[in-house]
Symmetry: D3
Subunit: 248 residues, 6 copies
Amino acid sequence: MSDNALSPRTRERLLTISSATLTTVLFKHGLRNTFLQGLRPLGARHRMVGPAYTLRYIPSREDLDPLNVFEDRRHPQRVAIEECPAGHVMVIDSRGDAQAASAGNLLVTRLMKRGAAGIVTDGGFRDSPDIGALDFPAWHQRPAAPTNLIRHHAADVQLPIGCGGVPVYPGDVMVADSEGVVCVPRHLADTVAREAYEQTVYEDWVGERIVAGEGLFGLYPATDPVQRQAFADWKQAQQARYPLLGPG
Amino acid sequence: MSDNALSPRTRERLLTISSATLTTVLFKHGLRNTFLQGLRPLGARHRMVGPAYTLRYIPSREDLDPLNVFEDRRHPQRVAIEECPAGHVMVIDSRGDAQAASAGNLLVTRLMKRGAAGIVTDGGFRDSPDIGALDFPAWHQRPAAPTNLIRHHAADVQLPIGCGGVPVYPGDVMVADSEGVVCVPRHLADTVAREAYEQTVYEDWVGERIVAGEGLFGLYPATDPVQRQAFADWKQAQQARYPLLGPG
Amino acid sequence: MSDNALSPRTRERLLTISSATLTTVLFKHGLRNTFLQGLRPLGARHRMVGPAYTLRYIPSREDLDPLNVFEDRRHPQRVAIEECPAGHVMVIDSRGDAQAASAGNLLVTRLMKRGAAGIVTDGGFRDSPDIGALDFPAWHQRPAAPTNLIRHHAADVQLPIGCGGVPVYPGDVMVADSEGVVCVPRHLADTVAREAYEQTVYEDWVGERIVAGEGLFGLYPATDPVQRQAFADWKQAQQARYPLLGPG
Amino acid sequence: MSDNALSPRTRERLLTISSATLTTVLFKHGLRNTFLQGLRPLGARHRMVGPAYTLRYIPSREDLDPLNVFEDRRHPQRVAIEECPAGHVMVIDSRGDAQAASAGNLLVTRLMKRGAAGIVTDGGFRDSPDIGALDFPAWHQRPAAPTNLIRHHAADVQLPIGCGGVPVYPGDVMVADSEGVVCVPRHLADTVAREAYEQTVYEDWVGERIVAGEGLFGLYPATDPVQRQAFADWKQAQQARYPLLGPG
Amino acid sequence: MSDNALSPRTRERLLTISSATLTTVLFKHGLRNTFLQGLRPLGARHRMVGPAYTLRYIPSREDLDPLNVFEDRRHPQRVAIEECPAGHVMVIDSRGDAQAASAGNLLVTRLMKRGAAGIVTDGGFRDSPDIGALDFPAWHQRPAAPTNLIRHHAADVQLPIGCGGVPVYPGDVMVADSEGVVCVPRHLADTVAREAYEQTVYEDWVGERIVAGEGLFGLYPATDPVQRQAFADWKQAQQARYPLLGPG
Amino acid sequence: MSDNALSPRTRERLLTISSATLTTVLFKHGLRNTFLQGLRPLGARHRMVGPAYTLRYIPSREDLDPLNVFEDRRHPQRVAIEECPAGHVMVIDSRGDAQAASAGNLLVTRLMKRGAAGIVTDGGFRDSPDIGALDFPAWHQRPAAPTNLIRHHAADVQLPIGCGGVPVYPGDVMVADSEGVVCVPRHLADTVAREAYEQTVYEDWVGERIVAGEGLFGLYPATDPVQRQAFADWKQAQQARYPLLGPG
């Protein structure tokens, strides 16, 4: 898993960047479909950064998915919970189906205890009030009390999947803020984190100018050379506030 | 309505059981479709237990559904509000249509005053902020300001209906927690309440073990005889905490 | 824009009327489709009254919608933000598509600074947590981090549009409370505001009676002459509480 | 059922009128929602006129809906097939759910043999190729092979229902052509048939004028007095072609 | 692949059985979800029997899915077409997305030339008129002209998938008639084929009785001993017509 | 409108090219969203080429859209029918709403008589069987008998619109075959027609090779130099069959 390891600098940067800014920078790299559609957080903790560990569900079948399947230690859902590396985000392809649960509180708690960075499904969690009370980022579509097996069969782990309409490859970097979850392709993580951090600094400045009463033209985007100079000066003055600026 | 009366013990048990656990126990009894899909609570009070009193809507028709229909005391919506027995949950089949209201604050307040246990629609309520401020469990799909008659015609009361994709028969036991609403078939209510209470005790113990750092294998499910013994001992020690354990 | 100016009395009245009551009065005038379907507020400030200023999006096209379009000061989205008159509500026809943003925090902040009364889209906003923190009413379908251009091309401003399934003409009066957003046709605004205010007074009284334990029959609607007289007396006594009652 | 009997003249007229013209005339009577949405015919025979006989489905439940329910002669689906009067159209409220069948070939054949005028569901039929081969009008949403009980429980007959989003009361007149199915409220059937027949004659004439090269203005609608006179003359000359013109 | 080989008798039986009857027999074995929802045939040839060969798509990503990916002989879509064994049915999990093609005419023709038994996707095919003109069963949701890579990335072959909401395991037996496609779990194929063949014989007899004017009660289901005897006699007399009756 | 005139050569080429091939060539030019989603033809005539003439609908409003609006010669729907230039394709933005008609047989016949090349809506047509019988390409989502005004208000003509999820600008070239409708941006029409014609020739050759039994590898795409030479030779020999090959 070492190749999935995020550099500390990239992780720190990503923890300060909004999902909106991230999608803009990914769009500059030609990627239009990186925001997991239709998901919401369960609790108050939303910030999340970590490589994806994937779990794939297909529709369940009555003869293959009775309640006692969980007695088998090789059951992919249980394997996933016990093997997902620390610092990783478990991402579940539930085919957008929230009619039964993707997982419940006991499993999510265990995942948290094992050091995972968060959990995401495009279906729903059961025990969602309990999960929402954990200090652990969790994202789903809507609450889903019915037990997993009524709709889902855990097929395998660590294969490329779709989640929320977005392709997610094991090791891609999942990033969330209060707005939602973005999937950053692994090979772009360092670059995108650096560029998005720069963009965040610029937008902070634009925000200040707008609050001060300035208009958009020439400012956002900064087509006016005077504004560009003003930004350069401001950025120089604010260096201490942005310790993660710069290359690398 | 006496045949709809819940035993106090069953009611007490159901008030402590999560909708998730309830669906699992119902699944063990062969029922897969008992969780009303896509509903959310309006206010802070979510816990609800009571027999279903049903109201059925069909699409409205301009000549049959002018505003003055409510002057007729036999109008099924008004009859329902005035006749729903105390302790019961009004369940409205709105065909999943939240484009106009299933009911509004005045009617819901009246229902509360009459002692009902809650109200559920798979459409939407109007005056939803006011309803959310009542000390009364109410569940819907989303807010729906437009007046009822624009989309709905109240057809009849106390017939079997569908709500949130689930069959609901008058007298079935509606149970809700913060996650959502479950429909328990009347004849299963006592059995399911007892089994689900047992299951809750077990999951409380599993939760403690997981928080203490144990893994899932052998614990959840308890395939390991050592774990089973540990649970038996713990349960013995916790008797005071679970006064509703046992038969009956 | 003077013809769009709301009379102070109408504005004051509309600020006290619920979206539910408004749709009922509009229904009495023959209008069934005035509530924007499926929208929710971003922050804690929901009350909003103002004439509509419209912005229309069509699907974007890669060659026409690169990131540098915003350098053009004639870009309709930027024109809209800088030209929407004070006191107006910007209403965006996003074709119900929340896969990419209708606008983000910087633009919405600028709109607020320019004195607009609110912003509504049937798509989604990006930077939604920041927008939710502004003291500015904003309504959308769900958060949408991806940048606007991935799905939307701003086509023009101040044309009739659809938003949330409702026709919105420039100058129509947009009114919101915590429940949602209603579009009042401009020519009906004064009449509807007056009638809805009267209706609100009546429903306040009904609410008090219901809380006091009365039943619906004869009261709501007030078919009972005794009740009608009781209301007339109460209204007389409450005059100070309802300064906006009366003609004009 | 005699009160449901259509006059021969109304029936004859309705057999020549398009569903489009019918909805226009119903709209003139203030009814906007009379076309069953999203249905298609199974075979080559589409023309259908007859009073509605209704059957209502709710979601099925495993313990109430095993395969042997059909051994009970009181099962509402079987009762419906054996009791639907000759000349009537069976209309099934399947809640728009085509995941399992509303009925199959054997039942539909029996219904045809009993003299019914057609069958409509907003779900799907199984054995749809066989049903399509019958000389019997049948309308559904799409083919649905799975047996009825997997999703549907037949609850009752001859109650008001919704079908394709339209209210259908027992005795309402169902009319179909190749385009779709319209529900005409019983009390309007004679009037609407007469007016729609008149409208059909007028549109036949407009069609001839358009084919002859004339433009729409003044012709459709006939705002031009010269055109109105031309139509009056043409209608006079075509009397033999329209034997059902006139009052009554 | 020999373990996937269907016995000739099972294949022959399945070629005569309707998808409706098949789902009923599968329901008797406890399986409720075996009919692929929402698919339609492209051409006039619908009958199809063969073991499933699966292909899985996930959402595409611009940097991984340029047009030149097809130059790579290991591309899973091309591998699938060249490796799917003769007699097998290719089943594609397109996540129900028909916005871009699952495959086109050239690939489907190649698959046909290689001896496959058919092709199924829950997305759409491009060149659908050409595919419809082939003598080859092909099923999809709707035509989809845009090239595959715009929405789909071929991830892998011969894994369990979902298609049309149904679980499909490699080797499961796909069966289609004019109505739709059923997935028969491999281990049940022989049993189900035999039972469904028996059921077909019975329903043929019922159909004859109904056409002859008999009612449903006692006949369907055959609760009447006289009817059961009549069927036994008829079946005896019809032996030559049903050469595949009997055990094995 | 002269700037909208298609060169005869481009028109001839486009008449021979499939919608599938066209979308591939447009994808090579960076355009991913050019196929109008979810439309089907009404009759047997599908081939259509012509510049777009656009008509835009918004939701209707009861007070603005009574039946007599059509008496006004400036009504945009009627203006559109009478002004759409010969050879053009009318494209209607109906917001994907087929609950009421986009237009009916009389208007479509008039449009045909005036020399238009076809008509497209992402809603539905009424009198669809009659329109299907015309010798005129017409595309919609599904039949829609209810009169236009029940859901649609014709807002304006010749503005950029969305149709079937695709941006359509007046003058863009609409091209259809049996599969569906593609929108080619005006400035790309000549280039795309030429390239797609070349691509068609190549795919014809591939098709012949596949029918002759060859495999995909090296052939499609033609990575094998031997295959490339074979194609060059074949193309040389087939010159008479492809009179539209070459530049210009």
